[in-house]
């Protein structure tokens, strides 16, 4: 395919893919409107309009399977209009199957090419179904019944896929601004050059500041251009929820909140699978069947909420349901069976569900049949530099929380010194840092386990050197308080250097994995600095320190304030 043709195809796909998505969403909307007794006229019109555009465009591109499919689906819509008042559930299934076939055709056109044979395979079932629909007499108008079997072979359930290719749309204004900033940076750069030549250091600082500012602004603008709204991902869920609810015979309503929240596209692309798993989990294990819910005095319709919001420089995404909550006794049992510590709080116990091998085999296969457990969700999220946690209220519901950095590319960090080496801590997890002194006495709980008093709490602390297994004997003069998923811990370091922005590179596996390192960055002077994995450090601190033990000595604190045990 020559350049022109390739570019044209790219343009076609960029418009066609969102149109196909819109059609899918509109069909679900149509179903809801019909169920509510509405006519769905406007939504039907929207579907027809999108099909019409796709028909024309695909014809221009010579993609005749798509042209034929959209033409047939237009026919189907016309039949639906004629039979106004007769809202058959099989019609919805047909339109959904048509939308699925359309999406698949576009996928093929984008990947290897859409040949006639393949197009035929996708088109045939839809055509047959539409012919059947045309021949069948209209049923009495009324609320659509749940279909016992689908008329059309059920299409693959829509798993959230990569949003619209590897492309971001960027506003011209942003590009202009970037060009402006590059221009300013170039000017500042040449002043710096001149000043170095003339050795006039007085103006040097000002020129450097100006260069610095231009570059920062440019960087921020570029970062911002990578941000896309969560709605691009969220919009794929209503279909999955609907399908799964029907399959499992449950009544579930999906609510979306914070769809405008922006997130780095690179992160969002990898969020689909773990998020889908959590949603399916909520429906499969959380939401009770309608009859049971009514018995419990809950509304028959279960509620799953998918939400996203910004917190400082993180994004928090949550899947919350009003179902039965986690089965704490079962978890406790399982924890014992796995040989895990028994004297944990409910919160800590619940986080065990993210450990590999924790879910029993039949739990996992019931869910998705792919053998994907919550441990895979957890590691996927951790690979993105984020964390996942769960909170649950038995009988009332559960909430899974994912916390992610806003961008993969540039990280704001705190540079610290540990045993003569510099390390970077992601600033989003740093609550506070302070010099160790009498005001924060640290207490030994049991050999090797310490807690420290901070803001009227006792939090577990870890020695930086032992975490990194460095043999040095630096004096730990400072404590950095890290906060991960609501739990705090302290990391003892030798010194604080300051805040720095770094560009993150993943760790080469050849270096040998260390659990507490999450990445590496190269400084301007060529030095390599490791980035510490705040989540892993916090998890380690939590594992070796228990609040109960901390509580038992807080009595000792009030009795003997100021006592320090090393």
């Amino acid at each position: 395919m020559n350049d022109f043709a390739q570019e044209l195809l790219a343009d076609f796909l960029e418009e066609a893919r969102p149109l196909a998505e819109n059609i899918g969403e509109a069909v679900l909307e149509l179903e809801r409107e019909w169920e509510g007794g509405g006519s769905g006229e406007q939504t039907l019109h929207r579907i027809k309009s999108n099909l019409h555009t796709l028909k024309g465009n695909s014809g221009m591109m010579g993609l005749s399977p798509i042209e034929q499919l959209t033409h047939r689906l237009e026919d189907a819509c016309a039949i639906v209009s004629e039979r106004a008042g007769s809202h058959e559930a099989t019609t919805i299934e047909l339109l959904l199957a048509g939308a699925d076939a359309l999406r698949e055709m576009l996928r093929l056109a984008a990947a290897s090419g859409l040949d006639e044979a393949h197009g035929r395979t996708l088109l045939d079932p839809v055509e047959k179904a539409i012919d059947a629909m045309r021949e069948s007499s209209a049923t009495a108008p009324g609320r659509p019944a749940r279909p016992a079997t689908s008329v059309v072979a059920s299409a693959t359930s829509a798993a959230p896929r990569d949003a619209a290719g590897n492309v971001v749309r960027i506003h011209y204004d942003k590009l202009d601004r970037m060009l402006e900033l590059v221009g300013e940076a170039i000017v500042a750069h040449s002043s710096v050059g001149e000043l170095t030549a003339s050795a006039d250091t007085s103006q040097f600082e000002r020129a450097m500041e100006s260069l610095d500012k231009s570059l920062r602004d440019l960087q921020q603008t570029l970062i911002d251009s990578r941000l896309v709204p969560m709605s691009l991902l969220f919009r794929k869920f209503p279909r999955s929820v609907r399908d799964q609810a029907r399959e499992s015979g449950k009544d579930v309503r999906l609510e979306l909140r914070g769809e405008d929240t922006t997130i780095d596209k690179a992160i969002m692309d990898r969020l689909g699978e773990p998020l889908l798993h959590l949603v399916r989990n909520s429906i499969a294990h959380g939401i009770e069947p309608a009859a049971e819910r009514t018995r419990l005095g809950k509304p028959a319709e279960g509620r799953v909420e998918l939400s996203a919001e910004h917190r400082s420089d993180r994004v928090v995404i949550a899947v919350t349901d009003d179902g039965r909550g986690l089965d704490e006794s079962k978890i406790r049992e399982r924890a014992k069976a796995c040989g895990l510590s028994n004297d944990s709080t409910a919160g800590e116990l619940n986080s065990h569900i993210f450990l590999p091998g924790f879910s029993t085999a039949d739990d996992v296969s019931k869910l998705s049949g792919r053998g994907v457990g919550l441990d895979v969700v957890a590691s996927s999220i951790q690979a993105l530099g984020g964390t996942v946690g769960v909170s649950s209220a038995p009988g009332r519901g559960a909430s899974f929380r994912i916390e992610l950095p806003l961008t993969l590319a540039v990280l704001r960090t705190l540079f610290v010194d540990i045993d003569d080496e510099t390390y970077a801590l992601p600033l989003s997890y740093v609550q506070e840092s302070f010099r160790l002194g009498d005001r924060n006495p640290s207490f030994r709980v049991s050999p090797g386990h310490h807690v420290i008093s901070w803001r009227d709490q006792l939090i577990p602390i870890l020695d930086g050197g032992s975490v990194l297994e460095t043999a040095g004997a630096g004096t730990r003069g400072f404590c950095v308080v890290l906060s991960v998923s609501g739990r705090s811990c302290g990391l003892l370091v030798d010194g604080l250097i300051g805040q720095r922005e770094v560009v993150v590179k993943g760790l080469d596996t050849l270096l040998g994995r260390s659990d507490c390192l999450s990445g590496i960055t190269v400084l301007g002077d060529g030095r390599l600095v490791f980035i510490l994995d705040a989540a892993e450090i916090a998890a380690r601190a939590a594992r070796t320190n228990t609040p109960r033990a901390a509580e038992s000595i807080s009595g000792a604190v009030t009795a003997n304030p100021g006592e320090e045990v090393r």
Binding site: F4, E7, L8, D11, F12, E14, E15, A16, S49, H52, T53, K55, G56, N57, G59, M60, G62, E67, H71, E74
Partner: protein
């Protein structure tokens, strides 16, 4: 003097296509409008537009409504309009011709068909001008 062709269509893909087919001629400028309303704005700014390629099926203000407004707009000079129609919209196409469009082109069309129609209309218009 450069020829100006205004393309009115709500599909960004079609605009790329029109650019590729029509815009490759030297001395020709392709203008774009994604809706009837935008088209009226562009035309108000561009009194010397030489030809309009018009899609009928657009949200908000469809092609026929635009045509009505344009024809009755009182602009000193009205450009010839070619309707880009799709199968199943023959009624609309006829209505467009009745409202004053000079030609129609049925999608999917070959690039050469489009070029042919455009060329013949522009040449016809030139001939007319040189006579006055």
């Amino acid at each position: 003097m450069a020829e100006k062709i205004l393309v009115v269509d709500d599909s960004s893909f079609m605009h790329s296509m029109y650019d590729m087919v029509l815009g490759v001629v030297a001395d020709r400028e392709v203008l774009h409008a994604e809706s009837g309303i935008e088209a009226l704005e562009v035309l108000a700014r561009t009194p010397d537009c030489d030809l309009i390629v018009l899609d009928i099926n657009m949200p908000e203000m469809n092609g026929l409504e635009f045509l009505e407004q344009y024809m009755g707009s009182g602009f000193p000079r009205l450009a010839p309009v070619v309707i880009s129609s799709t199968e199943g919209t023959e009624d609309d196409t006829q209505r467009g011709l009745d409202a004053g469009a000079v030609a129609y082109l049925k999608k999917p069309f070959q690039p050469s068909d489009l070029q042919e129609v455009v060329r013949s209309i522009l040449e016809g218009a030139n001939k007319q001008e040189s006579l006055t």
